[in-house]
Amino acid sequence: MLTILFDGVAYGMLLFVLACGLAVTLGLMNFVNLAHGAFAMAGGYITAVLMNRYGVPFLLTLPLAFIGPALLGLVLERTLYVQLYARSHLDQVLFSIGLVFMAVAAIDYTMGSQQQLIQLPGWLQGRVDVLGVQVGLYRSFIIGVCGVLVIALQLILTRTRFGSRLRAAVDDPRVARGLGINVSAIFATTFAVGSGLAGLGGALGAEILGLDPTFPLKFMIYFLIVVTVGGTTSITGPFLASLLLGIADVAGKYYLPDFGAFIIYTLMIVVLVLRPQGLFAHGR
């Protein structure tokens, strides 16, 4: 029971790191980016390739899994995404689906369609017994890393000048621009950081979520659930939503293996119908 809760928390934290970039994209620029999972996949593959082909230690690959997708995100944002902010949601959806298709086929072509397995270092394998609860070492590691990231993000958002600018831009881009805040530079930065975090999440999650070319499509719905259920106005909303989703998913798969996915999708629809702004958002 507690083990399931623990696994669920680890899973939820992972989902948050994967999806928080999307929350910013949606909240700040109202851009429906279905291709967010592609950045996560990029991070996962960077780790997998570095470890399996070049023997780089796991921990060393993680910063690279952040930097690679972040740079990719920055370039794509400046060249392609920036042209679509003013377009209709339909255009944005079509564009990002196109990107996902290209990413899936490109990875399939270069890396093959099989699952990528990574060999965790020995000190992260196995489980220990803490107060009678079986605790996976790797999951504790994930909770630790993601917890630090969450706190860091929260501090950046609430305590720094950049954070207050970002919040101002999310609340009202036009007024923020009027006050002399360079909204597009802020957005490029957050897009890059969000893509990087997604990449890091993909690398950390390669062991738990699995990594194959269909990753962006498989987890797209999860990211979107986190963002739409959590709302895009704060960082705590998506965080709580990812924890809920993580725990519900793990528990659902454990207790009701046949209906786990079914329950999650139904709950999502119910939440969205009752609270279109998200579960934790304050009405505006």
Binding site: L80, L90, D91, V93, F101, A105, D108
Partner: protein, 349 residues
Amino acid sequence: MQDKPFMSSLTTDEVATSLRRKGRWGLGEVLFWLAAAATLFFLPERHLILNEIAIIGLFAVSLDLILGYAGIVSLGHAAFFGVGAYVAGIFAKEMTGDPLTGLAVAGVAAALLGFATSFLVLRGADLTRLMVTLGVALVAGEIANQASWLTGGADGLQGIMMGPLLGMFEFDIFGTTAYAYSLVVLFVLFVVARRIVHSPFGLSLRSIRDNSLRARAVGIPVNRRLVAIYTISAAYAGIAGGLLAQTTQFVSLDVLAFHRSADVLLVLVIGGVGYLYGGLIGAVIFKVLQDILSSMTPQYWQFWIGLILVVLVLAGRERLTERARFLAGRLFGRSAGAPRTAPAREGRP
């Protein structure tokens, strides 16, 4: 029409004349359908793929009804397609192999689902709608996957035996009967759809798409209109799915998959959103492209599809559509031609 009392009779007359003029069949349209009918006789070895084109075309027309005319962006239109396919398949297996009855049942089943879920779609803006439609399709897919005693689960629904069409024409392995059947169904439903969009009802839908607040203000019952068109569109999609199940005599989970919803969006976008021929032209182009691309690079053709989508959007989808519509207007006569006003900018208040 509920809003009649608010208009002067002069405006009513004007609108009626304009609708009637737009509703008239152009020469190009007649030629289009004659050409389609001619393929029945002149391209016998292509009937299997033409059948698929007709089905995808019908599916795209159904999406166009809600996307192009009512402005509802859906990422889960495959839900209705899949439900129609499964219902038609199971009906043929368990009840009777008569195709027309099965098709009607498939359409009604999908319409019921569309009616039930339309109330979910009314809430919220684009993103919520995207998520809800996607969620409905995922739930449907999950149900089909779990209820394997009924649907065959991951193995697919096998052993569908279709009776002869109208008691006379057996389905043959070259797909000639199948194609003729699909084409006739497509034509009949297309005529109905054409009538719908050129009616005052269709006009009110377009006003909701362009500005739903203003539409509400002039007395259009927005929610009821959206429920109606969503239900109709679901029935269309269900019939398209039913056609697929009946003509291929097989249904797999693939009919409910996400890529099917994405594909139909692409079909519609290639052909052009907001005029009915867009779905049909898009279906032809899409299938031909898919054929060429998958023979060049099998299993990686999705890459090129994705590239086409990205380029299409970056190059300005609406501009291209307008061009196509202009050309279509030249070719097909006034009725399919460009509207006098600027086309809708979906998703913006």
